[in-house]
């Protein structure tokens, strides 16, 4: 048990420091995951297997993933600036943190007065860890437990309301879209039909492959502008040659087979 603690505790502190010190929020979240998992292990070592499972499932599984999900939503590629804008914030924070730590450490010295007991007796008496927790949850704390259900429902509804986006203009129907397309054709000459498909070659039919027009030039509209911008667009001329070679090869094989017959 002591061994477990001394393995987990430094990892947890490392994870916590990482959470605070990494400039990129994704790294912070992953550092926190490290701390969470180690905390779960500590729960297990402290004879709380139910909490061990919950910690993994709820915290590491659900909550941290939610964090990561939101991180992805709001953008991952902007690291925090390290320049402090509020005057004196860092110095005072350091002093406050030092004071807080001192206070906590100082008070821990006098916090533990009762002689140590063990969980074994209680676990045996309850018939198991989960049973023990359940007896309390559905016994002494049942009122609080029921209230948490109301809390969770409220939180879910609140999150929905907060995240819900109000439509600011009426949804365009098929008719309106068609009208808009025809109007664009009339005013700017934009083609009203669907965009050309991507090119299909012997070795590639990816959406990054531009189609070729009858005159051999590239139809730019056949590839998404994003892909073009990223430089993911494939070289159609090369593909065309490959395809021609392939066709030629295939023709040759076919011809040879006919001759054999």
């Amino acid at each position: 048990m002591n061994v477990v603690f001394w393995i987990c505790a430094p990892l947890m502190v490392l994870g916590a420091l990482g959470l605070v010190l990494f400039r990129k929020a994704v790294y912070s979240a992953l550092s926190m995951a490290l701390t969470m998992v180690n905390l779960a292990v500590l729960y297990a070592s402290l004879d709380a297997p139910f909490l061990f499972a919950i910690q993994i499932i709820v915290y590491t599984g659900a909550i941290l993933m939610l964090f990561l999900f939101v991180l992805m939503l709001v953008g991952v590629d902007t690291p925090d600036s390290i320049i402090e804008t509020i005057k004196g914030q860092r110095v005072l924070s350091a002093l406050g943190a030092l004071g807080l730590l001192g206070l906590l450490v100082f008070s821990i010295g006098g916090a533990v007065t009762a002689p140590a007991d063990t969980m074994e007796g209680a676990t045996v008496a309850a018939g198991g860890n989960v049973e023990g927790v359940a007896q309390l949850l559905f016994g002494r704390y049942v009122w609080a437990f029921e209230l948490t259900s109301a809390l969770l429902i409220t939180a879910a509804v609140g999150a929905m309301i907060l995240a819900h986006a109000q439509r600011t203009r009426p949804k365009l129907g098929q008719r309106e879209l068609a009208d808009a397309r025809m109007r664009a054709y009339a005013t700017s000459g934009a083609h009203p039909g669907s965009l050309p498909n991507s090119g299909v070659f012997a070795t590639s039919n990816s959406i990054a492959t531009p189609a070729l027009l009858p005159d051999g030039s590239i139809a730019q509209e056949s590839v998404s502008a994003t892909l073009t911008e990223r430089g993911a667009q494939l070289d159609s001329a090369q593909l065309k040659e490959l395809t021609a070679e392939t066709f030629a090869g295939a023709q040759r094989v076919s011809d040879e087979e006919e001759e054999e017959l």
């Binding site: 924070s93 943190a97 206070l103 006098g110």
Partner: protein, 634 residues
């Protein structure tokens, strides 16, 4: 001191029960004209004249009934209703129609009616004529309340009512800043006097439990200590304010800013004599206090001379008459202060003065009407040819005021001078001197206005006023000449039940004092003629000596008020403002500034950064934890 016989009024019967109509008619007129003048249009002035004529008719009818009644049934009380009752006090509104008040009613409605008629002509071209007549009616109603009230509180209602009407009418031409200022001045100075009235009435309520005249008269004898003097002096303060007696005299001269009919009605014939009425009405109080009565005499004498002095120096015809009014009211006050020997003469002089002074004021108005509203006597001269009716009627008033034998002023003023000599040689001599000065300044007025060569500018075309203005002048002129002779042998006896005065023997032939008075008056006229009749009057006022300058400046009354009252109050106000701004506001301001500064500092902490708040929370946790741990350890 003569023991007073107090006659209780009898209950009202017959026509007396309708005495309230005398007040109600003009009050209704005022209400209709001021409230609905827009719909009345040109009928407004006519309505005003009609209401006051009705009041006058009723007054005459009541007077006739009183004449017919036996002497002890002439005073009639007309209870109307209970105003309010609170605690031990019940205050009733009632009228007292006795020998004194009926004379006033006749004066007010009679002279008032004539002035209403006169105003039809005088104010014919004024845009706000209707409103003017509304105010006049309001004044008449209030004045009748004043004289008909059977207790001091109701009297005070009328007292304030006439003050209001006076204020409105002095400031009638409110587009002139001087008129607005004069109205305000009159109002404020009257409030000073009203303070005395209120205190006096309060003292009466405290002492007698009632403010009714009968209760006060009956209870006065039981007053002890300083109360009679206190109440008397407070009443005198009120009387001084209303009657423009020294020291509250300064407003009357400015009040001449009002239209001339107003000056005649309110500031000569009726309202300003209310103070005399008050003193005579309160004779039971003044009987008891030598100090108060002597003060009345003193005030009267000083005002008499001051008014005459001012009258000598002014060049504004209305202000000369205003000074003369002050002076004549001073005579009345003097008589009222003398005691039972003088009450009847005070009222007598009040009535004759009401007639001849109204006559002269209206005459002055007629002159102004002919001279394009110029009031400067130095711009007149030789007007007797152009304004014959005005001149002859004015002359009647002139003879009356200087006390030409057998005119009304001769009888009434001579009696007062005699009574003054009865009081003391000094007062008598001063009253006699006043008579001489009166003769002097009235002669000056006559000569400067009607005599001599013409001094008016080219383009001024003096013309006689229309009949609607001259007829009232003629009626008043007749009264000026004849009223004295009619009342001389009758009024003392008539007023005896109301004033408790004993009959003062009068004779057709003058007493030695009467002869002396005549001589002094003749001297005054002679001096006046010597100074102003023989020589050309300069068109601009000469520099004059110290005496003339003092008179021209109204004996520096305004300066005295300014130094004694206005400046100290201003200084006090400034000190109060400084204390408020520097001391109180400064203290409070510092406090709020401190809180404001704190808030600014606190606002800085609220920078909106979540991380800052988190840091603050951590520091708070540290603080709480430290306290807890220190508590556990310590």
């Amino acid at each position: 001191m003569i023991g007073l016989e107090i006659v209780d009024p009898v209950a009202a019967t017959g026509l007396f029960g309708y005495a309230w109509l005398m007040i109600a008619l003009p009050a209704l007129g005022a209400l209709l004209i001021l409230g609905f003048g827009r719909f009345l249009g040109k009928a407004g002035p006519a309505l005003a004249v009609a209401t006051i004529t009705g009041s006058f008719a009723l007054a005459v009818a009541l007077f006739v009934q009183q004449l017919a009644a036996p002497a002890d049934a002439r005073a009639v009380s007309v209870p109307l209703y209970t105003w309010f009752s609170t605690g031990a006090w019940q205050l009733d509104v009632g009228l007292l129609v006795d020998q004194l008040s009926i004379l006033f009613c006749l004066l007010i409605t009679g002279v008032g009616g004539l002035i209403h008629v006169y105003s039809l002509g005088y104010m014919a071209h004024d845009e706000r004529k209707g409103r003017f007549f509304g105010y006049l009616n309001l004044f008449v109603a209030a004045m009748l309340v004043l004289v008909l009230a059977d207790n001091y509180l109701v009297l005070f209602v009328g007292w304030e009512g006439v003050g209001l009407a006076s204020y409105l009418l002095i400031g009638f031409w409110q587009h002139k800043p001087s008129a607005a200022a004069a109205a305000k001045k009159a109002f404020v100075m009257n409030r000073v006097g009203d303070l005395g009235m209120v205190l006096a009435i309060s003292a009466m309520l405290a002492q007698f439990g009632s403010s009714a005249f009968s209760e006060v008269n009956h209870g006065a004898a039981n007053l002890v200590g300083p109360w009679p003097t206190a109440i008397g002096l407070l009443l005198l303060l009120g009387a001084c304010g209303k009657s423009a007696q020294v020291p509250l005299q300064a407003w009357l001269l400015d009040a001449m800013e009002g239209p001339t009919p107003v000056s005649a009605l309110i500031h000569a014939a009726t309202m300003v004599t209310a103070g005399v009425y008050l003193v005579v009405r309160s004779h039971a109080i003044f009987e008891l206090s030598t100090v108060a009565a002597t003060t009345v005499v003193l005030v009267g004498t000083v005002t008499l001379l001051a008014g005459a002095w001012i009258g000598c120096a002014k060049d504004d015809i209305k202000k000369v008459l205003a000074g003369s009014t002050m002076s004549q009211i001073g005579y009345m006050m003097l008589a009222a202060g003398i005691g039972p020997a003088g009450y009847a003469f005070a009222i007598f002089h009040l009535l004759t003065h009401g007639a001849f002074k109204a006559n002269m004021f209206l005459g002055a108005g007629s002159v102004m009407h002919g001279m394009d509203d110029d009031v400067e006597m130095r711009h007149y001269g030789g007007l007797w040819k152009y304004l014959p009716v005005t001149f002859w009627t004015f002359a009647c008033g002139y003879l009356a005021i200087i006390g030409f034998p057998l005119t009304s002023g001769y009888f009434s003023k001579d009696h007062i001078i005699e009574a003054a000599f009865g009081q003391s040689m000094l007062i008598g001599s001063l009253a006699l001197l006043g008579a001489g000065v009166t003769a002097f300044y009235m002669t000056r007025l006559m000569l400067m206005t009607f005599g001599g060569a013409k001094r008016w500018a080219d383009g001024v075309h003096p013309h006689e006023s229309p009949a609607v203005m001259t007829v009232p002048l003629v009626v008043l002129a007749v009264l000026s000449i004849g009223a004295g002779a009619v009342m001389n042998w009758w009024i003392q006896e008539w007023l005896e039940p109301a004033t408790g005065a004993h009959a003062h023997e009068v004779d057709l032939l003058p007493t030695p004092i009467g002869w002396a008075t005549m001589a002094v008056v003749a001297l005054g006229v002679l001096v006046g003629w010597l100074v102003f009749g023989r020589r050309e009057v300069p068109a601009t006022a000469p520099q004059g000596n110290l005496v003339a300058r003092a008179g021209r400046n109204e004996l520096y009354g305004n300066s005295v008020n300014d130094v004694l009252v206005v400046q100290p109050v201003l200084a006090m106000s400034r000190a109060a403002v400084t204390t408020d701004a520097k001391g109180i506001d400064g203290f409070v301001g510092t406090f709020t500034d401190a809180i404001g500064g704190l808030s600014v500092a606190g606002r800085r902490a609220q920078n909106g950064y979540v991380r800052s708040y988190a840091l603050t929370m951590v520091l708070g946790v540290l603080a709480v934890g430290a306290v807890l741990i220190l508590g556990l350890v310590g």
